[in-house]
């Protein structure tokens, strides 16, 4: 298949077997969407369906199209051709390989022509270490990484090594990583991003929100003008809270007027 231009999700049915109100979702290259909904509503299921190129063969009976067509099987059977990177909710690795060896193996698996694995591994580690306070080293075993380091490495791996046109992220905010920096680094790239999120900042940053309840996509909300304005304030507020969090983390005492002026 040539350039990826769009991805389409054809609605299926919810947990109770009832059809989904939203019958079709089309995402174009450059779109950022977030998936919102209560815990247990089926957000992870939705992006897993996308990652598996569901074809009426998952419990939700959804179908995924790429450029309006049924994707070729090689997308699933040959990782080097897979246009999707998924950053799962997992905060632990089961693999006991050293980080460097693992990344090298993954870089080889994903290697698109013309990329140099050595350089890729360096850049992946650099990227990961921009997101986490505790640097990840190449010789550490994957199983020894903390939850935050694991997520940082997965995000870096997806961005640098996979470097796919479609990126799915399951609750990046729960990762103990630098969210602001993460969003900044990610949004530099023109891709389809789909964020599963409970975080107002991430939700308002996207072009639209896919609302899920009881396993069904209920509606799609475009981010409106008022929300966009609100988004800048929410980001500011969020930055203030992040700074507070950082101060607490490094053992500082707070002054009592830390929030002065920010809530205006």
């Amino acid at each position: 298949m040539s350039e990826i231009e769009s991805i389409t999700i054809i609605g299926g049915r919810g947990k109770d077997g009832e059809p989904e109100p939203v019958e079709r979702i089309d995402l174009q290259m450059g779109n950022v969407a977030s998936i919102v909904g209560p815990t247990g509503s089926g957000k992870t299921t939705f992006i897993n369906d996308i990652e598996m190129f569901a074809d009426c063969d998952t419990p939700s009976m959804r179908r995924v199209l790429i450029n309006g067509e049924r994707p070729p099987r090689e997308f699933r059977n040959d990782p080097s051709k897979n246009p999707i990177a998924l950053i799962t909710q997992h905060t632990t690795f089961l693999s006991d390989l050293p980080v460097g060896e693992f990344l090298e193996a993954h870089a080889t698996v994903r290697a698109a022509s013309g990329k140099h694995p050595d350089d890729m591994i360096e850049r992946t580690i650099e990227f990961a270490n921009e997101l986490t306070g505790e640097p990840v080293g190449l010789d550490v075993r994957m199983t020894e990484l903390s939850g935050g380091q694991t997520r940082a490495l997965l995000i870096a791996d997806a961005t640098v090594i996979c470097d796919t046109p479609i990126v799915l992220l399951d609750e990046v905010e729960n990762a103990g990583i630098d969210r602001t920096r993460c969003l900044e680094l990610l949004r530099r790239q023109r891709k389809v991003f789909i964020f599963v999120t409970h975080d107002p900042r991430i939700a308002l940053l996207s072009d639209f929100r896919i609302v899920i309840a009881e396993g069904r996509v209920m509606k799609i909300l475009g981010t409106n003008e008022a929300e966009r304005e609100l988004a800048t304030k929410v980001s500011r507020l969020d930055d203030v809270l992040s700074r507070l969090r950082d101060k607490l983390r490094v053992g500082q005492a707070l002054s009592g007027n830390e929030l002065e002026g920010t809530l205006a």
């Binding site: 569901a54 063969d57 799962t88 690795f93 089961l94 693999s95 993954h106 698996v109 997965l154 090594i161």
Partner: protein
């Protein structure tokens, strides 16, 4: 009749995979028979019989390697499935002996591995993996996409010819390619041959002589101070 033999370490999801495959095969109008070979305990035969009403059986291999046991009983099993008017015989073996593989030429060999089992597992399971036509990787839902992909590459290194198919055997996602492979398998001919060579089995202890001391044994033996040597009867 078509034969598909499924092997893999314990709890990797063999029964779960076969259960979904059987459902889909029945939907397509196939008549399945199921044989389980295990060392000392199994209840898959009862479960699948209750679930689908298909003919099922089990054998306990006891002190025999389950894969050797499979070689011994497969002829009878094919006859049994035939008498029950079945179109497909599915065999699940415990796959505990990492030197053997139960697959036969003329039948489909399916290895089931779990994505959670560590990156070195493919190096450890031997012919069970390297001789399989299809390798189903289960439990991908429990690991990251990156780990799944590296695990997959490790399998392909060991078994360049095997077709790797990822499946979630809890929900039966990704089972269709396996069902297709089963349906594409030609009907088995009469003179089936075990695929690959079984390991050497020349040891008199293996065949049941329990006396202690090399003096009681023959074939390739070994004394404390010596390397292996040959002793005739």
């Amino acid at each position: 009749m078509k034969i598909a033999i499924c092997s893999g370490p314990p709890t990797t999801g063999k029964t779960s995979v076969l259960r979904h495959a059987i459902r889909k095969l029945i939907d397509k109008g196939e008549r399945c028979a199921f044989l389980k070979i295990d060392v000392q305990f199994a209840e898959e035969d009862e479960q699948l019989a209750a679930e689908f009403g298909i003919p099922t059986r089990k054998v306990y291999s006891g002190e025999l390697c389950p894969d050797h046991c499979s070689v011994m009983v497969l002829g009878d099993a094919i006859q049994w499935a035939d008498e029950n008017d079945c179109s497909i015989l599915l065999v699940e073996t415990a796959g505990l002996c990492l030197r053997c593989a139960p697959y036969v030429d003329g039948g489909l060999g399916i290895c089931v591995l779990e994505a959670t089992s560590g990156m070195n597992l493919p190096l450890k399971v031997g012919p069970m993996l390297s001789l399989a036509d299809v390798t189903v990787v289960t439990k991908g839902d429990l690991v990251s996409q990156a780990e799944r992909e590296v695990f997959r590459a490790r399998i392909q290194d060991v078994a360049p010819m095997t077709q790797i198919r990822e499946a979630n055997a809890l929900y039966g996602i990704g089972i269709d390619p396996l069902v297709e492979a089963i349906l594409e398998t030609p009907d088995a001919h009469d003179d089936l041959l075990l695929r690959g060579s079984p390991p050497v089995g020349t040891c008199t202890i293996c065949v049941g002589k329990r006396e202690v001391g090399w003096q009681a044994h023959f074939g390739v033996v070994r004394a404390l101070d010596n390397q292996n040597f040959y002793r005739g009867q």
